[in-house]
């Protein structure tokens, strides 16, 4: 386990470095730079020569590898640099944006999970049947609503018409409610979709009929068989949604006027503000790698058959019986045993 963790951490650092490098390269590809975007802006009215002089003082005319090395060494020493667009320290911008986004991400994700489970259960067990059928279509409906439109409608109705929450200097909790709702709806769609499919497939399995025949209640089955088996793909999607969270936050934060990582990203892309963008990439990568490490660690917890993951493919190619190996050399006897028991039930 420790070796596995160390390996994953090493890989995480590698991913961080690669993501940073890839993002730097993408920024090199984008024509123009932040200095040009800011100082050649007609609002300032500077001449070409004056802009060029400022670019030189920024080092924006240096070759890309020099700039890459400078920013990389800056990051390694903890210096995130300064925003080209506003001159503010990137650390200031990020420090003021991160908590807001983290909070929104957590609450949005939690709400999405609740919503997805509710939709999936209603779609699978809802009565009458047309209700279940309606909920079955909910995910495709949720995902095809433009997020900006959803946000605006929610604000119009709940804030401007009903006056439940204010959009102007709301309190910390008050400011979280509507964006959470807005973020959760599209976020819950893939999760609900996967859950619905997984539940349907598990319910069709022979072993479920067997357990039911043995007199187990529907609720017991939900908890013990269906949910646990559906958890695996759901968990994967959940890990993926972290990326969606940042992307979804771009629109949500814009519509709700929140200063977060999403809004910062949109602004930085618009201004070719490379130091800010690179900091965002690093933050997103760290968050992403951590979340997915967690997901990978959770796989064997929710599905004991995966406790010998990684060796099975090779084992199969050696044409060995998987079961013999699993029960003989698996790191966790009980897990393998439970898997065996389960297969006995199914048989």
């Amino acid at each position: 386990m420790a070796v596995y963790l160390a390996g994953r951490l090493g890989q995480a650092l590698l991913v961080l470095f690669l993501a940073y490098t890839a993002a730097s390269m993408l920024l090199m590809i984008l024509p123009g730079d932040g200095v040009l975007a800011r100082y050649a802006n007609p609002a300032l009215g500077l001449s070409g020569e004056q802009v060029e002089a400022i670019r030189q003082s920024y080092g924006a005319d240096a070759p890309w590898y020099v700039q890459y090395w400078q920013s990389l060494s800056g990051f390694l020493t903890g210096d995130l640099g300064y925003s080209v667009n506003s001159g503010a320290a990137v650390s200031t911008l990020v420090a003021s944006a991160l908590p807001s986004t983290a909070l929104l991400a957590v609450s949005g994700f939690a709400a999405a999970v609740v919503l997805a489970v509710a939709v999936a259960v209603l779609a699978s067990y809802g009565k009458p049947r047309w209700l279940a059928s309606a909920f079955d279509s909910a995910p495709s409906l949720f995902i095809s609503v433009p997020v900006f439109w959803l946000g605006i409608v929610i604000i119009q109705v709940l804030s401007f018409q009903l006056g439940w929450v204010t959009m102007v200097s709301p309190g910390p909790l008050e400011s979280l409610i509507l964006p959470t709702l807005t973020l959760a709806i599209p976020l819950s769609a893939p999760l609900a979709q996967i859950l619905i499919r997984a539940i349907a497939e598990v319910r069709a399995q022979p072993f479920v009929h067997v357990t039911r025949a043995k007199g187990a209640g529907e609720a017991w089955m939900l908890v013990h068989s269906v949910i646990r088996n559906a958890m695996l793909p759901a968990l994967t999607i959940a890990g993926l949604l972290f990326g969606e969270l940042v992307a979804g936050a771009v629109v949500t934060e814009t519509v709700f006027g929140r200063a977060g990582i999403g809004a910062l990203t949109a602004q930085a892309v618009a201004n070719r503000d490379n130091p800010v963008l690179l900091a965002v990439v690093v933050i997103a990568t760290v968050g992403f790698v951590l979340v997915n490490l967690l997901v990978d660690l959770l796989y064997p917890v929710v599905d004991p058959r995966l406790r010998h993951r990684g060796r099975v493919g090779a084992a199969a190619r050696r044409r060995l019986g998987a079961r013999a190996q699993a029960s003989g050399t698996g790191p966790s006897r009980t897990g393998a045993d439970r898997a065996d028991q389960e297969e006995e039930i199914r048989a």
Binding site: Q11, L18, P31, D136, L141, N229, P233, A284
Partner: protein, 300 residues
């Protein structure tokens, strides 16, 4: 225990491993019970919606007489009426006509975006999930890198490199979706690889590739396809975000995402600009989903 028994993995569907993908539906079994009557009506509506949309794409001229790219002297932001079913847009063009003429471009874009993500992503996920070891590690870390870069930055750069246009925007959105499909396909594959029938298939002399294509792929693809249907909707909306930023379809060509994006500032004044094209997108996605479900049910 042989490969042909019902020992399919939990999330692999009840379609027999050898019968191909769930979407590969055979004829509908005869003697449907009354329980299925309601779904058949919705399925019929779904088929009609998709059929009409495809006809829009093929022969737009049959459905509207208005010019989609020149509004002439028509006032801008007119509400829906008998003359202009979906109203007129911010410069006085007929929105319904723009939606009809935009169908081919938008459907193509959505298909390209989904296809790029689905094919490339599933391939990466299948290989990573079935080979394990360093191959999996390398592939999945590449996927992690892809996922870590903000989608906005990634798509924008791809559009700039490939050049402006609907197809290129669609490819960019597809590339951004590769990582999602890859991770999901890998998770499915890892599960399936544990199944007895897969192990048995190896045991009875199957090669890696034959087992992969005959047993793993058909079962892993089910959940991935479910995601793909959703992806149609989000692809159009992501193209719309690109359009809002000025990186979508070049003016004046109509495209659904662009129409929705351009209406964004008029949500409160001229709701029809975003809502009606938005409803079309929803109708297409829900119908695709409905039809997909019906086909899968029929195949069982």
């Amino acid at each position: 225990m042989s490969a042909s028994t019902a020992h399919t993995p939990p999330s692999a569907g009840t379609a027999a491993p050898a019968s191909g993908t769930p979407a590969h539906g055979g004829a509908r079994p005869a003697g449907l019970g009354t329980r299925l009557r309601l779904p058949r009506i919705t399925t019929l509506i779904a088929a009609v919606v998709l059929g009409v949309t495809i006809l829009w794409a093929l022969v737009p001229g049959l459905f509207t007489g208005h010019n989609p790219i020149d509004g002439g002297e028509t006032a801008s932001l007119l509400a829906p009426s008998a003359e202009h079913w979906f109203g007129t847009d911010q410069i006085g063009r007929d929105v319904y006509s723009r939606v009809v003429h935009g169908a081919s471009r938008s459907l193509l874009a959505a298909l390209i975006a989904v296809a790029v993500g689905l094919v490339v992503g599933s391939a990466i996920g299948l290989i990573a999930g079935s080979r394990g070891g360093w191959v999996s590690d390398v592939l999945m870390r590449i996927v992690d890198v892809l996922l870590s870069i903000p989608a906005l930055l990634l798509t924008l750069t791809i559009v700039i490199v490939l050049g402006f246009g609907t197809v290129n925007a669609a490819i960019a959105v597809g590339i951004a979706a590769i990582a999602q499909f890859a991770r999901l396909a890998r998770a499915q594959t890892v599960t399936i690889m544990q199944a007895d029938y897969v192990q048995a298939a190896y045991g009875s002399g199957g090669t890696y590739w034959s087992v992969l294509f005959r047993h793993v792929l058909p079962n892993a693809v089910s959940a991935v396809l479910a995601l793909a249907v959703l992806q149609i909707g989000s692809a159009i909306l992501q193209i719309s975000t690109l359009g809002f930023l000025g990186y979508g379809t070049p003016a004046p060509a109509p495209e659904w995402g662009l129409i929705i994006a351009e209406g964004r500032n008029f949500v409160a004044t001229a709701w029809w600009l975003t809502v009606l094209p938005g409803l079309i997108v929803m109708a297409v996605v829900v119908s695709t989903h409905r039809l997909g479900t019906a086909l899968r049910e029929a195949a069982q």
